[in-house]
């Protein structure tokens, strides 16, 4: 399960995200963050952290450097 999700994220990272304009306000970007977070914390905690990151990545956020903790 974990590997499937990470594989899917990597597919998005490598192929799909190249098609759109870079839109993330953070470094690392949301998808990189999600891959790192799920690798480190597992699918549940990592997943929740990734979703929280996505929610923070909105027009009202300042963005910036936000590595996987």
């Amino acid at each position: 399960m974990k590997f499937v999700v990470i594989y899917a994220l990597k597919f998005y990272r490598n192929y799909l995200s190249a098609l759109k304009i870079r839109c993330c306000r953070f470094y690392p970007s949301c998808s990189e963050y999600a891959i790192g977070s799920i690798e480190k914390h597992g699918i549940f905690l990592g997943g929740v952290k990734s979703i929280w990151r996505l929610i923070r990545c909105n027009p009202f956020s300042r963005g910036g450097y936000d590595p996987v903790q």
């Binding site: 190249a18 870079r22 990545c57 909105n58 027009p59």
Partner: protein, 526 residues
């Protein structure tokens, strides 16, 4: 560029053809039901005389036409075996749409059954009598008398059943029974059979399911309603009485049967119980259902993003009331959503321009932190912050568009308004545009869906433009990937959309076209 476009188009067509070969589209043949086609004069309910009775074997049918429906009763079980809707037509014909046609008397609508199997409530012949707007079936057993009093309506697609069970013996009798609420629902398009489902509200909770794994599934509790639905039509029964549980199962093969079982009650000698039932047999239109029963709107299920779907349908309805064309309404909805999202597109481009201005500084940084990509990215982010550049609106707005598309898909596939709505060359917006071609090709048959092909071509164009807009903001490696995905993505979308309702494809075509226009306009400004 020209050459690559041609390659992309050819490739898309090849892939679609191969895809069609691997996953053949369900053939759009209509099932012709064999046997008994009753030719009976329609009788107006208002001036109701006992209608024609056709003996078929041992069964006597009674066909009654209201202003809206044609209902065929049977004396076996004193129940309903066929319901036709006059307001709706069969696919490509002028005949009324057959919503219910059941062959097995034990599964006729409103057929009742003794759970213990002793009393032949579902197989006995009932005697019939009629009154204005009413059909009454009576069965006399040794100890019990069953009276089924049907009331028909001209103003809406409903009928009522008043069921009396009289104890004519001199001892108390305990009586409980099962009643069929839905069976024999007809779906002429094989590809849409998978959409047939049973929904029910039991103890205040909506239970939704399609395929019972066991033979029979029951949900004990107070049943508010039971609905058997096709893509566009519903058969909803509301019991007014103490229910024991709701049940449903596959009768034989693919036929879903649903019903309720009533709590058994003790009837003292020479008294009776009375249960009332309401049956709706008609299109799944929220505004219609609401008029009949406040709860019936809940039978419509547009999935997880239902509220967005309803909002979109409301907007579509508004457009339709002005322009009287569903195709035009879809186009307007697409334009509207694009205009709403345009500030976002524009803003993103403005930040793109600023980035362009910062390019020399970025190059400097790139040289400075050549060996440390992490540090480089961090420095770039600092640079953005310093000059107050925000790359677009962030990831969330992009993600928020997804529910809109999911909801739109649900709304366009399940909304009956699009059924039979034509637009330009499209005969039916709820189905693929299927343009006949003179020859029968081995893989795609004798119809070709033009709209999805147009969509694929437009998507390739759109991506060409958007890669130009992105300009220098991407790395060399990303550019290589873009080249590959430039063709892959539209082709993938081509697969997904090829057999989708043309209304949905139309929306996507307009959306893509507008994106091209927006992006080229932005590009020209620089």
């Amino acid at each position: 560029m020209e050459k690559r476009l041609i390659t992309a188009v050819t490739l898309s067509i090849i892939v679609i053809v191969v895809f069609q070969f691997l996953f053949p589209a369900p053939r759009k043949t209509q099932i012709v039901k064999p046997g008994e086609k009753a030719i009976v004069k329609e009788i107006d309910v208002k001036s109701f005389v006992p209608a024609a009775q056709i003996p078929t074997a041992n069964e006597e049918e009674l066909i009654i036409a209201t202003d809206r429906n044609i209902i065929t009763f049977s004396d076996i079980g004193g129940a309903v075996k066929k319901i036709e809707l006059k307001q709706h037509k069969k696919n490509n014909s002028v005949e009324p749409l057959v919503l219910v046609e059941e062959k097995d008397p034990a599964r006729y609508i409103f057929s009742i059954k003794d759970p213990s199997g002793i009393l032949p409530l579902e197989s006995a012949k009932y005697s019939v009598s009629t009154k204005p707007n009413q059909v009454i079936y009576t069965l006399n057993l040794k100890d019990l008398q069953i009276i089924k009093e049907y009331t028909l309506h001209n103003l809406n697609d409903t009928m009522d059943l008043q069921l009396f069970v009289k104890n004519i013996s001199n001892q108390s009798k305990e009586v409980g029974y099962q009643i069929i609420s839905g069976a024999g629902i007809v779906e002429p398009n094989i590809s849409e059979k998978r959409l047939i489902e049973v929904t029910a509200k039991v103890d205040g909770k909506t239970v939704n399911f399609k395929r019972p794994k066991n033979n029979i599934i029951t949900h004990p509790g107070i049943v508010s309603w039971v609905a058997l639905k096709t893509r566009y039509f519903s058969l909803i029964m509301k019991p007014f009485g103490q229910t024991k549980h709701q049940f449903h199962n596959f009768a034989s093969g693919e036929d879903l049967v649903a019903g309720v079982e009533m709590e058994s009650v003790t009837i003292p000698p020479n008294s009776f119980i009375e249960h009332k039932y309401l049956l709706y047999a008609g299109p799944s239109v929220a505004s219609e259902l609401k008029k009949i029963d406040a709860e019936f709107e809940e039978t419509i299920n547009y999935g997880f993003f239902g509220w967005i779907a309803k909002a979109l349908l409301f907007m579509l309805g508004l457009c339709h009331s002005v322009f009287k064309s569903w195709g035009l309404s879809i186009i307007i909805l697409s334009v509207l959503l694009n205009v709403l999202l345009f500030p976002l597109t524009l803003k993103s481009f403005q930040s793109m321009q600023k980035m362009h201005e910062l390019h020399p500084q970025m190059e400097k940084l790139k040289v400075q932190f050549k060996d440390n990509p992490q540090k480089l990215n961090k420095e770039i982010m600092e640079l953005y912050k310093k000059y107050n550049i925000n790359p677009l609106g962030g990831c969330l707005p992009l993600l928020l568009q997804m529910p809109i598309f999911v909801a739109l898909y649900q709304a366009l596939t399940k909304s009956i308004h699009l059924r039979g709505a034509s637009f330009l060359w499209i005969k039916d917006l709820s189905m693929p545009d299927a343009v006949p071609i003179p020859a029968t090709l081995p893989l795609i048959g004798n119809h070709i869906n033009i709209l999805p092909l147009v969509m694929v071509i437009l998507m390739v164009l759109q991506q060409k433009v958007s890669t130009k807009v992105m300009g220098s903001a991407v790395t060399e490696e990303q550019k290589q990937q873009q080249k590959m995905m430039l063709i892959m993505m539209p082709v993938m979308f081509g697969f997904i959309f090829y057999n989708m309702p043309s209304g949905m494809v139309l929306y996507w075509v307009v959306n893509t076209l507008l994106t091209i226009v927006e992006q080229s306009a932005i590009l020209k400004k620089t």
